[in-house]
């Protein structure tokens, strides 16, 4: 379920960590790492926000701050899978056409294959590994099992993340609406009718995400 690496504890030393890190990085990162409430004065001293070559990046994934070494060209998808061992998020087309890589960034669904990790450092990232609470499945995960919403399962993490967002957005009120608002997630096995049924079941149960 979670990756085998022991995740770092949640970032309590946010302030200290940030300051020492900025010094370490020669003042290169500044804003990308600054918490949103940073004062104007601090913001100015932390200017010059150029990132070049391999640097340390921090991503907050499923509530846990993780660090990794990466170049600016590394996508969020590759960061999750290759650096943080969160392989639940799948790489399908790698061009934003299939939706297998869908994750939530600050609660909104995005294609992680077209997102640069360096650009989401101070945002909340949720992957399929973050849906269940311990052993208790998310209602949509349970509904996918109830309705057989998959065959090979490769698109399923993306379908789940997109489905969770679809429910939260209020776009799951009819079968047609689900079909339209889930159209960014392809399923080559053709489990579409069962995926629609699973999402509709959760919607009708009154779950709001």
């Amino acid at each position: 379920m979670m990756d085998s690496n022991t995740p770092e504890p949640a970032a309590q030393p946010e302030q200290d960590g940030r300051r020492s890190f900025i010094k370490q990085a020669g003042g290169l990162l500044g804003l990308a790492l600054a918490p949103p409430l940073i004062s104007q004065a601090e913001r100015l001293t932390a200017m010059s926000k150029k990132v070049e070559g391999v640097t340390e990046m921090r991503l907050k994934v499923n509530g846990t701050v993780r660090t990794m070494q990466a170049e600016p060209r590394v996508t969020l998808l590759d960061a999750l899978r290759e650096r943080l061992d969160l392989t639940g998020t799948k790489k399908g087309c790698d061009h934003g056409q299939c939706g297998a890589c869908t994750v939530l960034v600050d609660g909104k669904r995005v294609n992680s294959c077209l997102t640069l990790a360096v650009m989401v450092q101070n945002k909340e990232i949720t992957t399929v590994e973050g849906l269940a609470k311990g052993e208790e499945l998310h209602p949509l995960q349970q509904a996918f099992i109830d309705h057989d919403g998959f065959q090979c399962g490769y698109c399923t993490p993306g379908q789940l993340m997109s489905g969770v967002a679809c429910l939260k957005e209020g776009h799951a009120k009819t079968d047609d609406s689900v079909r339209e608002w889930m159209s960014g997630n392809l399923c080559r096995c053709g489990a579409y009718p069962n995926i629609v049924a699973a999402i509709r079941q959760v919607e009708q149960s009154g779950f709001k995400g």
Binding site: K49, R73, T75, D94, G96, T115
Partner: protein
């Protein structure tokens, strides 16, 4: 994807200065077009300048109409009550485009700068006058089923802008605000922002190197309030338009007082049709009028082997859209 440096700008001045400092630099907002092109090695940049912190935000009524900041996202604009209420065609053009994920990411400014889906442009193994000027255009005698029939040249027949929003914006006289490195702003109508391919298909817009898109402003008009965007695709959803129509009519007592028509998927740029508008204005709002307008809109079409069907498809799309807004 080649390696690049990443710079986060917090003001327009900082963005333009950063970009001017490095040759082969590009701005990045949502990144949905740019990273796709870079992964396919169709664009290479040594530096990406992140413009998401720029204050080009907000959706607000102004004396000139609805002003939408270039950093607003397609999803937010498409479902914004002022857009839904006063510019249904604009809302529909956004919500029928891409996927919910891409709409959450893509900015309005970036949407304007999408590049063609021509298969020859997107495969670096082929010559392409847009990609390598002077190398030739295999699309003219090749697979051109999804390419343009209006505004084509001997050098290029690509639908340079493959999207939807700019088609609706072109129909309703929207104006882009641009800002250059000196901080000077200028206003360019969307219809003049895109240029025909002619002999220089590598040049697609009048945007100067380093110039930023700040906002788009759409006049508040009766024909924009009574408008729609109809999109015909190879599948029901999540595909580019084979043909589309953004139309708006101001009908009073059965007579069309003013009309706006633009076509997507068929022109080398978002295709405003003054010819169709001329037929519609002052005429009765009937199917016969709409048929005549559609014929006028496509009169100059120059189809090729695989896209001949688009002449009829575009006419029918336009007629259906006009019927929808007039009923």
């Amino acid at each position: 994807m080649n390696n690049f440096s990443y710079t986060q700008a917090s003001s327009a001045k900082e963005a333009t200065a950063s970009r001017a400092g490095t040759a082969q630099s590009a701005y990045i907002a949502g990144g949905t077009t740019l990273l796709d092109l870079m992964k396919a090695n169709l664009e290479e940049h040594a530096q990406l300048v992140d413009i998401n912190l720029l204050p080009f935000k907000g959706i607000e009524q102004t004396a000139d109409g609805l002003r939408i900041g270039a950093m607003e996202r397609m999803s937010d604009v498409g479902e914004h009550p002022l857009v839904v209420q006063n510019y249904p065609a604009v809302s529909e053009s956004l919500l029928l485009a891409a996927s919910p994920q891409l709409r959450n990411m893509a900015s309005i400014g970036g949407n304007m700068l999408q590049r063609t889906r021509c298969g020859y442009f997107r495969d670096a193994a082929f010559p392409c006058n847009k990609r390598v000027p002077g190398s030739g255009c295999p699309a003219i005698a090749g697979d051109n089923h999804n390419l343009a029939i209006l505004g084509v040249s001997d050098a290029c027949i690509a639908t340079a802008y493959p999207g939807d929003l700019a088609v609706a914006l072109a129909a309703f006289d929207a104006v882009l605000t641009l800002e250059n490195a000196k901080g000077k702003q200028r206003r360019v109508p969307v219809t003049e922002f895109y240029v025909l391919p002619g002999r220089t298909p590598q040049r697609e817009t009048v945007l100067e190197p380093g110039e930023l898109i700040v906002a788009v402003t759409i006049p508040n008009t009766a024909h924009a309030r009574r408008s729609t965007y109809l999109k015909v695709r190879e599948r029901t959803s999540y595909a580019y338009a084979l043909a589309s129509a953004a139309v708006g009519l101001d009908v009073q007592g059965g007579t069309i007082r003013s009309a706006r028509v633009a076509l997507g998927g068929v022109g080398t740029k978002p295709w405003r049709s003054p010819e169709a508008e001329k037929v519609l204005t002052g005429a009765p709002a009937t199917e016969a009028t709409f048929r005549a307008a559609a014929a006028a809109a496509l009169r100059g079409a120059q189809p090729h082997d695989d896209n001949r069907y688009k002449v009829e498809l575009a006419q029918n799309t336009l007629v259906q859209a006009l019927l929808a807004v007039s009923s």
